[in-house]
Amino acid sequence: MTNSTSTNSFSTIIGSQPSPAQTTGVSLPKAIGTSPVATVPPNMRTTSAAPLRASVAHTSAASLPTAIADNWGKIGSLNLDPEMLARIMRLAAAAGATRSLTSRSLNDFLDFWKLVRFSATAPELTVAPDGTLYAEWFKSRRQRLDLRFTPRAVIFGLIDGNTINEGAQPAEIVAATLKAHPSKPLRWSI
């Protein structure tokens, strides 16, 4: 329910025609993922999240997920893969027992992604019950990498054959270590 509500408010903002697939909550980010600036009306062409949030509040009672609104500028500038953006939208709008994605965690992930995006495939994203973002790269049960973007540090786990590297480090160190890793774990996918 929250998914579709959020998506509808998003479609109001960017002024696109609602399509049947929008009720799934995943089609819209394709439109903004390819060219965010081009699809946003002239009065909203800004990378600041504050005017966007104000407009949303003015436009409808339903609100854009806070995590997305707070990171709007970064999301636009990174030109994220549409599938990844759709997934982030879903996680940000998720409701229920699990908390939805937090702004801080998404911000930390986007900062990390900025550092590694040219040497990485898109990870599979999920959210932990405390609202922190999980990114997983999976090749097999014996070769997988997971990163959890907590407020204090990035908690990482790299399983590569018989070796397991686990720890918590700042995002910059994790990014540099993974980019230099001989197994190229950031490129693992199935």
Partner: protein, 180 residues
């Protein structure tokens, strides 16, 4: 009902939310993290919710989750993990697990060195009108910090989940209720 014995070879089922289902029917690590406790009292009784497959069938457990968490609709995903695998994951995270022969139960070293039950039968008599006789708790997660919990989840994640498609939309319990 007497407390069941948790045999190493028996399996515990963990409900997998839609956002924790990954490509290739893999269970995300995050599926093995418990919800944040609401109060201090909840924190003291914190546990990882699972269902003991020795007490109820997978279909019945899936029906319960479908009714309680999915309004009686849709596929239910559950991940089965052996108790021996839960033990191994706990031990790798530093949990002191022991089998007490006298009580035929698993225990772990809690705060201030007190031994506590590692797996506890926690039947749910009534949740939105549905009951779960097989509901249990993996209790030893209480001694793990955030890093330890991620490590624990990593040991258990990545497994394939089972999908229960139910009986054509509405589940048996809801159908029976509506017919009444």
């Amino acid at each position: 009902m007497a407390d069941p014995i948790f045999y190493l070879s028996k399996e515990l089922l963990r409900y997998v939310r839609a956002i924790h289902r990954l490509k290739g029917n893999r269970t995300a690590d995050a599926a093995f993290l418990e919800d944040v406790p609401a109060s201090e009292a909840d924190k003291r009784a914190e546990h990882l919710s699972v269902n003991y497959l020795a007490l109820e069938s997978m279909a019945k457990i899936a029906d319960y989750y479908r009714n309680v968490l999915q309004d009686g609709n849709g596929d239910v995903a559950v991940c089965a993990v052996k108790i021996s695998q839960f033990n191994a994951a706990g031990k790798k995270c530093g949990v002191d697990l022991q089998f007490d022969v006298n009580n035929s139960s698993w225990s772990f070293g809690g705060p201030r060195g007190r031994r506590e039950v590692a797996y506890k039968h926690r039947p749910v008599p009534n949740n939105k009108g549905f009951r779960s006789d097989s509901h249990c708790g993996v209790e030893f997660i209480r001694v793990l910090d955030a890093f330890g919990r991620s490590k624990f989840a990593r040991q258990l994640g990545g497994r394939r989940f089972h999908v229960d498609r139910g009986s054509g939309g509405l589940t048996r319990d809801i159908k029976a209720k509506r017919e009444r």
